[in-house]
Amino acid sequence: MTSQVLVNEGMSALNEASVTPVATPFDDLESVVATYEQRVFRFMLVSLRDRDAAQSLTQDTFLRAWMARSSFRGDCAIFTWLMRIAVNLIRDHTRTNRFRFWKRADANSVDVSEVAQHIPHLESSLESRMIANEQMAIVWESVAALSNRQRDIFLLRFVEDLNLSEIAAITNLPISTVKSHLYRALAILRARHTAGILPDKKTKEAV
């Protein structure tokens, strides 16, 4: 009898647990969007370099997070979980041939001169501004030359300022692999930086 009672109690507890939804931070989606939209959108925009695609995929990120909120266990930060979704969305998006076609000439594509306008120029001299624009443009063009995986990791490290363990959690890769990708990405950047290669001369025009 005692065992029967325990079984019944256990079953009822299980039923209650399955019926009662577990509260997650994503239940209040509005506050999550308000807190993290800026960072998710920035990552999307710099990665895709397309305003509309960045906006659309940012919305998709929050939508997917809300739909899968029951699977959020709280074992990682909210931002880490969001960025994991964002990275997967970008990967799906860039795989399509449509993206590759439209990437060549798109009205929504971001030009480096637009980005260069947002460099904080603490120095007033024209020469220092030009140098700063050139330096930023070298990094911008180098990022375009990276593979998708390298670009994701590079941006997570140098734009989102995440540490290696956070990047490893987002990309689901070992830390050593993350580090290797960063070494390769920085090798490309160093080579361009040393040579002073500036494929796009629009930066000078932006000055």
Partner: protein, 181 residues
């Protein structure tokens, strides 16, 4: 640290400094690396330039994304609520004018009809001649009504003397009218 064969930092050492992470297993500790940087202007300069480039890239990307998101949010707000400047559009003004006319025109017509002046008593005074003829006409009607047989039905009462009676009656009526006039 850098080996005697390579006077400069290895790529891994350089990256570790850029990443500001713990020294790579193959590299020495950061104190030795920094010691090399103090002694090697080439490595030091490259590290400074690269770090600065990455910082500029981050700041410019952040500023650009912030501006773009602000524009997107502004467009969202415009989509939800019409902005005040949209009132300047001609379509809005035309619609407003039509609505105003639809409301004001019936009101104006009603108001105008209510204010229509009553006919002036002085304006409808009749002349004496008209008044006399009206009285004669009314008297004739009274005679017709008071007669046992209407004048138009008399020929049917006495068909034989209809022509003489009719002519005599007509003559009598004519003479009576002439006398009255």
């Amino acid at each position: 640290m850098n080996s005697p064969q390579t006077p400069h930092l290895t790529h891994e050492q350089f990256c570790d400094l850029i990443l500001a992470c713990s020294p790579h297993p193959l590299s020495s500790d950061f104190a030795a690396l920094e010691q090399h940087l103090c002694a090697c202007p080439s490595c030091s300069e490259e590290l400074t330039r690269l770090s600065r480039s990455l910082t500029l890239f981050r700041e410019a990307s952040s500023g650009f994304a912030q501006q773009q998101l602000a524009e997107i949010r502004a467009r969202r707000t415009e989509a939800v609520l019409p902005a005040p400047h949209t009132l300047a559009r001609p379509l809005y003004w035309a619609t407003a004018a039509v609505l105003a006319l639809a409301v004001l025109v019936p009101f104006g017509l009603q108001h105008g009809s209510a204010r229509t002046p009553a006919p002036d008593a002085a304006a409808i005074t009749t002349s004496p001649h008209t008044q006399e003829s009206d009285e004669a006409l009314l008297e004739e009607i009274d005679q017709d009504i008071s007669a046992s047989v209407p004048s138009s039905m008399r020929p049917l009462v006495d068909p034989v003397a209809s022509t003489t009676a009719t002519s005599a009656g007509n003559n009598a009526a004519t003479s009576q009218k002439t006398a009255e006039n």
